[in-house]
Amino acid sequence: MEVTLLIEATESAFKILEDARNHAAGIMDTTVELMAEESRVLRDKKCRAIFTGAQRRKTRFHNFMGTAIILFIFWSLLSGHFDLFHLVLGAVCSLAVSYLFHDLLFVNVRIGNLRTMAWRFLIYIPWLLGQILIANMHVAALVLRPKMPISPRIIRFKTKLETDISKVTLANSITLTPGTITIDIRGDEFYVHALSHMVADDLYGGEMEDRVAHIFMEGDHLYLQDALDAARIYETLGV
């Protein structure tokens, strides 16, 4: 008898637990929707603020401080003397220079997170160094052979990158990778001189373009940024 009672009790307990979980899930969904709504509102507000003075002054100040810090690190690297006089001198110089050039270093940086971009760029550089090593092996093999099998041609391809910095990184990477040199960029079109058709084909593959897009959070990686924002808000709210 007690056993059946016990079973019923556990069953009812399970049922209550089940309801609680469904209820909690319901709350979770509504909060997620609320968050998405709120992040959209936040994003619109931020975009609007950017064009109004408040945000622009803030970004200009951020640019100024960012440049000043980077320049001070550069100064301390350059000058061997770390006594107070030289450090103060360095601080004054870097502040003066960043006042003169505050709008040069970080122009139209995307709203995307600067830290992740810098971190991904640092990871990208070893891969690029590897590429240039292969490129030079290729050039060495090509040049030292008596008959040089090259069939040069200029190819044109469209890119999906928007900001200047990503186009420049892609162009420099193309110049450094085997067999190709960026000749000209007209809007979205890259004119590239390739040494052989084999190299031209893998350029069309766009493998490097995806890497650069991944670094600067562009093209198909836009949704990633929204997910990151949502996740961050999700954490802060501590749901």
Partner: protein, 105 residues
């Protein structure tokens, strides 16, 4: 002490080898754009290797940090210079050589 010099020597030697290939490429390649391939890539890597070799030989000090700074600057500046020259050629519509082994233009 010797290992450091050995590594420095190795880096400077490979740097010299890539300088050599870049120069031979500059002289032998028939077409202007392909010459730019050799110098653009060859010099960048050769400068990187030589500078890292000198930095290693210099040991861990501020000057080796400055040598690495020059390497970073050259890593950024050399492709841009090559690009600028090839763009000037492209704008003066210098046609690339399509038939392999054509006259030395």
């Amino acid at each position: 002490m010797v290992i450091r010099e050995l590594i420095a020597g190795f880096f400077v030697c490979t740097g010299f080898f890539f300088f050599f290939t870049a120069t031979v490429g500059l002289l032998r390649l028939p077409d202007f754009y392909s010459r730019l391939h050799a110098t653009g890539k060859g010099d960048t890597l050769a400068v990187l290797f030589s500078l890292i070799g000198l930095a290693v030989y210099e040991g861990f000090s501020l000057t080796s940090v400055k040598i690495v700074l020059i390497a970073v600057f050259m890593f950024l500046a050399q492709p841009t210079a090559t690009h600028a020259i090839s763009r000037a050629a492209f704008r003066c519509n210098v046609k690339p050589l399509t038939t392999p082994g054509g006259p030395n233009r």
